[in-house]
């Protein structure tokens, strides 16, 4: 008994080294990117000072931060407008993507017939399609939504379709033997099996819907009707207000990162009990 405890207490050198390396890695995962980021910001600041770059070309980081606070009411109300389009279009992308995938999954013939249309929608640059949308759709919000939706729905559709079709053959046989209806097979087998694939698509679509919303505002907002972040950026560009331009850019990036983190968390919470991707590596 005592020998076992002793063996537990005294780790051999190899194990000690491994534990130390693991601890270092855990720290490094956060510290390293943070340090590099701080260094880059510092360098940015120094470059401005050393070269005496005027503020309307490249503002110093401190100025950008100050602008972010000073213009907060304006910028955040614009952010809300952009966020509204982003989330609505993400919601529509989920409904449309999953809905179409379920439809495709009903029959190989449907999928073969209609999948090419989805691909065409995906590969045509949205900026080039927008003038058409502008002609056919009157409502500004509807225009933006349609635009962002086209950009965001494809990853959900293609991933969910793949997931619905990658059900274990034996499980399918089991359902068949037990007389499962098409609906039961979809609900109890294919949709849960497609969940990891869908969540992977959702993570991509989250970022894309933000990109879609901003791009849509860019091409639509030239008329000045919209007041999303993109129009703030265009406006600031016209007025050579670089600090505000940077502040708006930072706001968009941070929003994109937050969307990704939230969707990753949701995905982890749903899959953590059963799916390989959510398992911690054990040694």
């Amino acid at each position: 008994m005592t020998t076992i405890e002793q063996a537990n207490a005294a780790l051999d050198p190899e194990e000690t080294r491994r534990v130390r390396a693991e601890r270092l890695e855990r720290l490094g995962r956060w510290l390293l990117p943070l340090a590099i980021m701080l260094f880059a910001i510092w360098l940015w600041d120094r470059v401005c000072v050393w070269n005496e770059i005027p503020q309307y070309i490249l503002p110093r980081p401190g100025v950008v931060l100050a602008t972010l606070f000073k213009d907060a009411p304006l910028l955040f109300s614009s952010l809300l407008v952009t966020l509204r389009i982003t989330f609505l279009s993400l919601l529509l992308a989920v409904v449309g993507g999953v809905g179409l995938a379920v439809l495709f999954a009903q029959s190989k013939w449907v999928e073969m017939s209609f999948f090419p249309f989805a691909v065409i929608l995906q590969v045509t640059p949205i900026v080039a399609v927008f003038p058409l949308i502008n002609i056919y759709v009157d409502n500004q919000t509807a225009k933006l939504l349609l635009c962002a939706w086209i950009v965001a729905f494809f990853p959900i559709l293609s991933n969910t379709t793949l997931g619905l079709n990658s059900v274990d053959r034996n499980l399918r046989d089991l359902f068949k033997m037990n007389g499962a209806t098409r609906w039961q097979q979809l609900w109890h087998l294919r949709l849960p099996a497609a969940m990891p694939y869908f969540l992977g698509g959702l993570k991509i679509a989250g970022g894309l819907s933000l990109i879609g919303a901003v791009v849509a505002e860019f091409v639509a907002g030239a008329s000045g009707q919209s007041s999303g972040l993109a129009s703030r950026i265009i406006e600031a560009g016209y007025r050579l207000n670089a600090p505000r331009l940077f502040a708006a850019l930072i706001l968009i990036s941070v929003t994109g990162i937050l969307i990704f983190l939230v969707l990753s968390l949701i995905s982890h919470l749903i899959l953590r009990r059963w799916h390989e991707s959510a398992l911690k590596q054990e040694h």
Binding site: D168, N170, L171, D173, L174, F175, K176, M177, N178, G179, A180, Q184, H188, L189, P192, M195, R273, W274, H275, L279
Partner: protein, 274 residues
């Protein structure tokens, strides 16, 4: 280790059951020219534990799929006992084949759920079966938290939850280690003796088929066919002591001899296709 249940003692020699299922001239050929089964005649009697033993490619899994209704024969007929519908058949796959996102309880409940039985209505049957397969207390676990043997127990419980008259098992223990396999063999026999269902058991293993069955159907490949059928004349219940008995050894020797002539009749096992 297993308590001896003296309730039912059946012997392999006595087969008084009615025919539950009769296969007559059953054949299956595929479009690529492979003849998986040819002229298979087989009678499964009520209460039988029949093993289909044979090399890879002898069509034993195909036969099982045809019996399960997952595949239709290209020749011959299947005659069911008139009291047995398709509802009366359970199936256990080679892999545990569980829903990875569902708990043990939900996995066992599944066949009943698909028949419209609510969770509460199914609870007594599910819990009793989980106890019978020695998984009481694990109903809330998900498959990946279980060992290979435990997953297979869940799979067996799921196969039995509809109280089938006929249980089809497709090499269910092939992927397990020997110790686990022996324990599952014992537990399966105990279940079979208590619940009095009929089993058709596909296996590669001479030792497993002799230990479990009262009748062994040796099959040969190219084309897949029944090579020889013989009764295993050893009384039930069979326990660990049976595994080391001379009777068991003699029966294994005989089964091995038949299997090896079945393999040679197909021109060797050099072209295994699975």
């Amino acid at each position: 280790m297993m308590p001896q249940q003296a309730s039912i003692v059946r012997t392999g020699a006595v087969e008084s059951g009615n025919p539950l299922l009769v296969l007559r001239g059953v054949g299956k050929s595929f479009s690529n020219g492979v003849v998986a089964l040819k002229d298979v005649d087989l009678t499964i009697k009520e209460g039988d534990f029949v093993s289909l033993l044979g090399p890879s490619g002898c069509g034993k899994s195909t036969a099982l799929r045809i019996i399960a209704g997952l595949s239709s024969p290209s020749a011959g007929t299947l005659g069911w006992h008139k009291t047995l519908g398709s509802d009366g058949v359970g199936f256990v796959f080679q892999e545990p084949t569980l829903l990875p996102w569902a708990t043990v309880f939900d996995n066992v409940w599944l066949p009943l759920r698909l028949r419209g039985v609510s969770r509460e209505a199914a609870r007594p049957a599910v819990m009793e079966l989980l106890e019978r397969v020695h998984l009481a207390g694990f109903e809330a676990a998900v498959p990946r938290e279980l060992s290979g043997g435990m997953k297979m127990r869940v799979s067996i419980a799921r196969g039995l939850v509809t109280k089938p008259r006929l249980l089809l098992m497709d090499e269910p223990f092939a992927a397990l280690d020997e110790i686990t396999r022996f324990r599952l063999n014992n537990d399966l026999l105990e279940l079979w003796q208590d619940e009095r269902f009929t089993v058709v058991f596909v296996t590669h293993s001479v030792f497993e088929s002799v230990f479990l069955s009262n009748r062994i159907v040796v099959m040969a490949a190219r084309p897949g066919r029944v090579f020889e059928e013989f009764a295993v004349d050893a009384p039930y219940p069979r326990d660990e002591a049976f595994r080391t008995s001379t009777c068991y050894a003699a029966l294994c020797r005989r089964a091995s001899a038949v299997l090896s002539s079945a393999i040679h009749s197909t021109g060797g096992a050099s072209h295994d296709d699975d």
